[in-house]
Symmetry: D3
Subunit: 268 residues, 6 copies
Amino acid sequence: MAKFNRILITGAAGALGTVLRENAQHLADTLRLTDIADMGEAKANEEIVQADLGDFNTVLEMTKNVDAVIHLGGMALENTFETILNANIRGFYNLYEACRQNGVKRIVFGSSNHAIGFYEREAMIDSFVPHRPDSLYGVSKAFGEDLARYYWDKFGIETLSIRIGSCFPEPLDRRMLATWLSYRDFIQLCDRGLNTTRVGFTVVYGVSANRENFWNNQQAAFIGYQPQDSAEIYREKVEANSSQPNPNDTAVVYCGGSFPAAGHFEDK
Amino acid sequence: MAKFNRILITGAAGALGTVLRENAQHLADTLRLTDIADMGEAKANEEIVQADLGDFNTVLEMTKNVDAVIHLGGMALENTFETILNANIRGFYNLYEACRQNGVKRIVFGSSNHAIGFYEREAMIDSFVPHRPDSLYGVSKAFGEDLARYYWDKFGIETLSIRIGSCFPEPLDRRMLATWLSYRDFIQLCDRGLNTTRVGFTVVYGVSANRENFWNNQQAAFIGYQPQDSAEIYREKVEANSSQPNPNDTAVVYCGGSFPAAGHFEDK
Amino acid sequence: MAKFNRILITGAAGALGTVLRENAQHLADTLRLTDIADMGEAKANEEIVQADLGDFNTVLEMTKNVDAVIHLGGMALENTFETILNANIRGFYNLYEACRQNGVKRIVFGSSNHAIGFYEREAMIDSFVPHRPDSLYGVSKAFGEDLARYYWDKFGIETLSIRIGSCFPEPLDRRMLATWLSYRDFIQLCDRGLNTTRVGFTVVYGVSANRENFWNNQQAAFIGYQPQDSAEIYREKVEANSSQPNPNDTAVVYCGGSFPAAGHFEDK
Amino acid sequence: MAKFNRILITGAAGALGTVLRENAQHLADTLRLTDIADMGEAKANEEIVQADLGDFNTVLEMTKNVDAVIHLGGMALENTFETILNANIRGFYNLYEACRQNGVKRIVFGSSNHAIGFYEREAMIDSFVPHRPDSLYGVSKAFGEDLARYYWDKFGIETLSIRIGSCFPEPLDRRMLATWLSYRDFIQLCDRGLNTTRVGFTVVYGVSANRENFWNNQQAAFIGYQPQDSAEIYREKVEANSSQPNPNDTAVVYCGGSFPAAGHFEDK
Amino acid sequence: MAKFNRILITGAAGALGTVLRENAQHLADTLRLTDIADMGEAKANEEIVQADLGDFNTVLEMTKNVDAVIHLGGMALENTFETILNANIRGFYNLYEACRQNGVKRIVFGSSNHAIGFYEREAMIDSFVPHRPDSLYGVSKAFGEDLARYYWDKFGIETLSIRIGSCFPEPLDRRMLATWLSYRDFIQLCDRGLNTTRVGFTVVYGVSANRENFWNNQQAAFIGYQPQDSAEIYREKVEANSSQPNPNDTAVVYCGGSFPAAGHFEDK
Amino acid sequence: MAKFNRILITGAAGALGTVLRENAQHLADTLRLTDIADMGEAKANEEIVQADLGDFNTVLEMTKNVDAVIHLGGMALENTFETILNANIRGFYNLYEACRQNGVKRIVFGSSNHAIGFYEREAMIDSFVPHRPDSLYGVSKAFGEDLARYYWDKFGIETLSIRIGSCFPEPLDRRMLATWLSYRDFIQLCDRGLNTTRVGFTVVYGVSANRENFWNNQQAAFIGYQPQDSAEIYREKVEANSSQPNPNDTAVVYCGGSFPAAGHFEDK
């Protein structure tokens, strides 16, 4: 595998950022890590940049001398629109525009199944369906994909957009038996996003090789993602901890789980 | 896996009913078994109801206090229309209407590839193509799927319709190298039909993981069916017992095998 | 236009049968008319057969020396299953089987939009979607289409299945501004079903050239149906007589109008 | 046609807003007009609200006692991201959220072909393709469609999203011979968006019945849009004023015309 | 409409070539006409080149100083393979290669429905289906389309490939009621092929606005072809001269009419 | 597996012909081998015919008493058109016509990914897309598929067309990590092409079970091809020998690799 000189990881203090920090040293000689939160001390091959993605000049600075970006920053849950607007929409634009100005040509984007969360489970959607976000958070991910597509069509910046299902150490509920993405498979996706010869603008569903599966990953076959894990080994444990829900609960009908059924955040 | 209190199995004296009776005790505390034929004595966790599905009141009675149904009853081969009409069409309606009145919300339906038997092998059809039945029997299975769809859309009764290929202890001829469904995989399908959180109205082709395969089961990925068997281990034996047929024989051209080429039953 | 020697019209006492009786003399030298109800006296070029389609021998007799059939018979509204079963399901089989035995090779079938009434308006479905009936009546029309397909694939009997929208002298409510089929256009469809060189098994939506339209008739272009009327000239009148309904009323959401929302008939 | 009590028109001082103001009095008893720019004096049936859509409380106020909205406000051309962000993204959210809080259930959205401007002309795209914006402006329209879809799926607010081609008094260049939307047809689209019984979330391409056409409007057939004008009568004039461009010019290859080839706005 | 300086018309002595010669003077200042047969004397704005397209150097010469080509040359009926090979396959290559060397960038190709003649009428195919030729002649037209596609993808030479149905003064049999292309509409197609701003590689079915229609011309909407004629006015005459054929005759089943049923030419 | 009496292998002196000669004795009692080049001495079960496929009478002779053909002959690389014309186009016709005259009904055709080499990698094309050849060589393969389709539709000669990716002992560059076909998997494909009960006209992509994959082989599931090898074990070696190319290099963008970017052969 080709090794990059330096890659930037945004959202490095978050759960998935931490996973990469601990397990993805092989991806580059130097990991430049950024987050609005404290990330502790830099290890040998790390550079630490505590910053707000909402500030363009800071982002312009942090994308200098970078070969590629894994973008996990921003709000990872539903919030008020103004919060989402700054962290995810403005932050996303800042990152892509800064990459354009600095000549960075490859980005792995941690998108979300919530960009299409209002499709029914049995629809078995692929990567080409129109967005149906299930939250303002999901809308911001849809925005990110649309903007990334624009930067590819217009400026030739490649993006692998990973619509992450549920990335946790293990599946926590019955839905995650279908939507779970193991850390190991998440790392593989980041690796493929960086190292596949050509990515263009490609959307892949970030799920492990689970027995149940809501999404058709056919489009992504060319990037060579072959998940190694399955939620199935956790089935007994998960089913023991919960009763079977009503199949017509909103949280069951739609791919997005609890999001389509959740309360709405109003700005104060 | 969640265990049901009581499930009803129709056609319990038939070949597949017997398979379930012997191997599916884990699916429920009590198996209520029904058939028009004699089923012998009830075992510890069994209830026996010998009855004709063509009689509504009997069906209404037998669906009381039932959590789910596996419907295998009716004629399993071509016959005269009046025979099919009573056993499969009226019987099918009786079952669904009785379930509606008794509040049973989940049914596994033993449909058949003969509901689409007039498609060519190389068409590689999926679960969304219009019916092309190859027999009056196949027409009755198409009717069953249409009625089940209606009961889902209108009354919220879920159905997993399994278009069974060829369910036998082992494949008996060259076509079955593609259409074979092992007993173990059949049981898994019944299990998934009962225990998947949400089924809605879903059509799955009931075939094992055979090397040759006529059908695209993509739609059913969300129910988590992962066949464990393959007809391939029987290939040598099957091929030794038969010569290669003409590729343009009607029985070879179409998915339905001998059915599209078979004689027509006339009512006397 | 080629003129037939004798065609059989079933349901000849009904509204559409009467339309044909009065306006379709040009289709054949002799119109053989049948209905379970009284049809009055035969005119010069007519033959009258009062009969129940549920009786096979009678149907066998009435299809002798017939060149083609326009099948409008059976229940035209929701009813109990047993009523539907006899009139529409058994009656439909009787007709096709009698045609097979008597060598009749072309049938125009008055199917219904209620065979697909549970699709949403905005789905813009074509002729190839799976059935989604909205009533037992709709299930019987779906059965008819499946059986007709079988008689085409197996016995070479051609059917034009017309999924009639709303065939009345004029549109009666707002939905009919989209679903209306004028008598003139209905007659044209019967004409095309009889006189197109090859029909095979083809499904066409029976609607005029209305401004609003729920269905994609692309598949039927080869039969040469070009509607002459539009519901638009009745818009002002229709809208004056009714207020705009709620867009989320069941009767508005689905193609089938009042059917998906209607009460369920139980057999006594 | 049902007449609304009061509709709100945003962007009322712009070109299309002015068209509606002058020609759409029949749509409602009262037109409430809003723009950030001066709109002159209110006529008899008008209410004037000069305001910035970027301010939520103002938008909340102006959507009170309104039956429906025609949303034309925001930047109508490419600009810097911060300008787009405030006018189109924040403004769009403010409008939908205010409608939700005030119970307004129907919106006609002036979207743009620039939301899909990076598709090639010969792709003949329909309404279901993923967004491929050709500008930050186009990204903001894609955002609007995604957010509108969310407000439909979650809150039942209906939107007709009109992807306007080129809405001018007459076509100004050769591309507009295909993309032109006459004022009369634009008004019809607004009318259909308001008065069609059910719209759900529907995307329609806003073009007249031009001889050349880049887009497939099949999905919108159910809303009953029947364009009355064609750019063809201006062909001679348009062609006389320009020479044939190179077919491989970026401005010719893509649906978006000059946008995909235009310079990029950087924030200062 | 832009006028070309000089266009080359191959097959100029044939029926369609003669139509253009007589009616297409407006397309260019000079028509250079070529055929292997005698074309009589050149008119004022004509240049005559009697030649065999099978000879490359001759073709190279005749494509000099040409702005565009309308290619109608070659065998127009079934023949032996060697005849087809020289006239249609080698001749086609010679033309495209000569255009490449001389910088000619736009070609209108008289292809044929026989390139897809083995599809059934009711398949309602569009421009994207794989070829299914019904003759060696049809295979050569499929070859032409494949080669033209290659010259577009690799060298940027644009082609409008017109799959001509039946281009005669009037329809001669019942099939032509669906497949007829009037001379006027043929000329319009040539005009659009030359004058549409961008054609890329596009396949259009060459049929008039006939009532019956076997083919879906949706892809070609962007070139602005709007047929002015219909075979319908000849229906009475055509039907009077022939009886209705059997719908299962090979010549009726398939789009290609008599070709799929015709005898096979063997080289001597 | 059924064993043939005699099969003909064309191109037997080439790389793939040699692979079959050494490893495919189990396919038939007698292998008749033909090539224009010297093939050495015949082994026990071999017949050697050194000949030019461009000569019909020779091909007619060599296809006598043959049960099936594996056609690998012709130019295997880009060349001048006249060379391609004789070897691949005339030769291909000669073979099919000779098979027709001698009653040979099953052919395995070594087609090539270069018949569709101008599709982008991320298009994930299936077997039904129109040809987009990337070379004259690719055009000749497209011609072969079109002609084979004709011989199936018209004369009932079955063909499995294998669009071979890169068939070498091991993958030689980064693209071949996706396109590699092992010799073992190539032999399996030939076996399936000969021994599947019915092939009709079927296109399969000839690739091993590589991690990266450009093509969707769904249509071919019914023939039972299950690749046993993967290029993945060679990844480290391949990547060590080359640097990552630019994702926008023509040789990377398109499926055909170096072919779309290669120079053009002109006839002298």
